[in-house]
């Protein structure tokens, strides 16, 4: 145990040495075949070759592993089973509040300092909550709209243009019913647009006030119903259904939380080749997700090495490749050397994916996570009846 506490004081070389030949349990959401395969394939293989570390990916939702850690903390279990977590948002906050995490460690990772813009809020805060070095950035996601350029010549750019387009094409637009993850994100955009941005929702404790504040946006959506698919009588229940309808031409727009979605759907053959991506002028929601190490990780050195590898340019670039995963990298473009910039430029993001530059420019943060259920509840009452 002593030695583990020391791991943060050790030279990086020593860390690598003590991580050699160990096994690292990486607990992460396991619902995506591509992601799983990237972790179990590319990542595990590289770790084995480079550091002689065996990566053991354990699929588990964040709420579940946070709960597990809470239990272990409670009964004083000094040695747990989890070494590394994929986490963000409310779960991170809970973990911090209950001192479930080990750290601060981010600064110890060579790649963190080498590639990250350590001043960026996107890196140092998580859903508005400071990471304090207990999280190391892993990936970014951003909301995008998808359209078919054969059917819509010019994509809308402002929110007003979008609404005007909807109204002039009745029945050709809709969004997934809440609580669908993507539908919910779409509604948050409307809230930003109608009620005047996101800042006002931070530090807002009173639930009644929140409900009052978001009400105009929901009423706006209710008023929009006559122009929606099936006049808003019903909504597709999942994003998958909306995608199907888009593919079938039933509706002319879809959406997603993954910037490379259009490209990968074209590759898969579900979307027409003419599918394209757009974002709104006032920005679309993006978030960063992170890696963290539990307080009772039995192999903290290994966890550090793995985290560091995941933040390497090489790993981030591989992850960015739509054929592997397509998740946005967390490095700062400015910190890349020329060769890296070149490699990045060589990466084929696909015709339907916006460049990171564009995305970065149009990015707005998430709302505090605890607002999400309230929004869903209100939407059900006012819009979904």
């Amino acid at each position: 145990q002593k030695q583990e506490e020391n791991v943060l004081e050790q030279e990086w070389k020593e860390v690598i040495a003590s991580a050699k030949g160990t096994e690292v349990n990486f607990y992460m959401w396991g619902g995506s075949r591509t992601i799983n395969q990237w972790v179990k394939g590319y990542v595990a293989k590289n770790l084995k070759e480079k550091y002689d570390i065996t990566l053991n990916m354990v699929p588990m939702d964040a709420t579940d592993f946070v709960n597990k850690l809470l239990g272990e903390k409670q009964i004083g279990k000094k040695e747990g089973t989890i070494d590394l977590l994929w986490i963000n948002g409310e779960n991170f906050k809970t973990a911090m509040d209950n001192e479930l995490l080990f750290g601060p460690f981010a600064d110890n990772l060579p790649n963190y300092n080498r590639y990250m813009n350590t001043d960026s809020k996107q890196i140092t805060t998580d859903f508005g909550f400071p990471t304090k070095g207990y999280e190391a950035p892993y990936s970014k996601a951003q909301f995008i709209f998808i359209y078919d350029q054969n059917k819509i010549e010019k994509a809308p750019y402002s929110f007003e243009e979008l609404i005007a387009w909807v109204k002039s094409h009745p029945g050709k637009f809709t969004y997934p019913a809440l609580p669908d993850f993507t539908g919910s994100a779409f509604v948050r955009h409307v809230i930003y647009e109608i009620t005047g941005g996101y800042e006002q929702y931070y530090n807002l404790e009173d639930e009644a006030e929140i409900r009052k504040k978001i009400r105009p946006a929901l009423e706006f959506l209710a008023d929009l119903e006559p122009y929606l698919w099936r006049e808003g009588e019903t909504y597709p229940s999942t994003i998958a259904q909306l995608d199907n309808m888009f593919a079938d031409g039933e509706v002319l727009m879809s959406m997603g939380y993954d910037p490379s979605k259009a490209t990968s759907e074209i590759v898969k053959g579900t979307y027409p080749d003419s599918a394209r991506t757009f974002v709104l002028e006032s920005g679309t929601i993006s978030n960063t997700n992170f890696l963290a190490i539990p307080f009772n990780s039995p192999n903290k050195a290994g966890a550090l090495v793995v985290a560091n590898f995941l933040e390497s340019f090489e790993a981030q670039l591989s992850k960015y490749n739509p054929e592997n995963w397509g998740a946005l990298p967390v490095f700062s473009y400015d910190k890349l050397n020329d060769q890296e910039k070149e490699e990045l430029a060589d990466l084929d993001l696909g015709i339907a994916t916006l460049s990171q530059e564009v995305l970065d420019k149009h990015s707005v943060p998430e709302l505090p996570a605890d607002l999400v259920p309230i929004i869903e509840d209100e939407w059900n009452k006012i819009v979904g009846k």
Binding site: T63, I75, R230, S237, T238, A240, E250
Partner: protein
Amino acid sequence: MKLMKYSIIKPYILLTPALIILFGLFLGGVILALAQSFGYFPLLGLNTFTLKYYIEIFTSTEFLDALRYSFYISFVSSFLAVVIGVFLAYQLVRLPKEYKLVRLIYKLPIIVPHIIASLLVFLFFTQSGLAARILYHLGVIKELQIFPQLVFDRWGIGIILVYLWKEIPFVALVVYTVLNNINNSFEQVAANLGASQQQIFWNIYLPLSLPSIGSAFIIVFAFSFGAFEIPFLLGSTYPKTLPVLAYQSYVSSDLLQRPYAMVIAITLTVICLGLIYIYKKLLDLVLRYK
């Protein structure tokens, strides 16, 4: 004398390993859940008994809606499963002997886990599922949105369909065994005394298999009432079923929510036990002469 003593304790000795597990694990689990539901949870630093959690839960609309919803789903699915299962079993009994394959095939869903069953329902009954496509090609529906929302819906239709797919064969299997034993002998007596096919079903087969039908209903009801996976995979956001509610309180990032989970768990338990009690009473009433 020694021999005699041994023969008295022998059954208990034989039962010991099973009882250790049943007491240690099962009863232990129930008792701990009970204690925790009353707020006695030393590991969390909760040391006083209180009815607070019960009062809070029983007055929350979310719980009451979940209770109603769970009841509704379990009752509808178990009732339909039993009715259709009994029908299937009855027909299988009357099927000529040669239909061996049929008698084998209908059991297949029994070994398929519920998770897979819910995948099947998902493939079939989402708005773009195969059912809708078939209707589309038959010209019954013109657009996919006309197909009713059967999964993730408020009426729990998807959940009910999964349970039906799983439990109809289960009920049929249980009832088939019983019906098969009744077969011929009693049927012939009744026919010979002048009963028609229908009369035989209602007067002989049904009442004679009622105890097994009843216990099949109880098992199926209790299973769906206490199961978490299916409503979690196919349920609507609101209302949730009790087990999902319990689970979510349980895995909440606030451990102090656990007593609430336990209150729901205990509620589930008590209702299931009550059900057995009612069942036994009904059985005594219906089968006075058994």
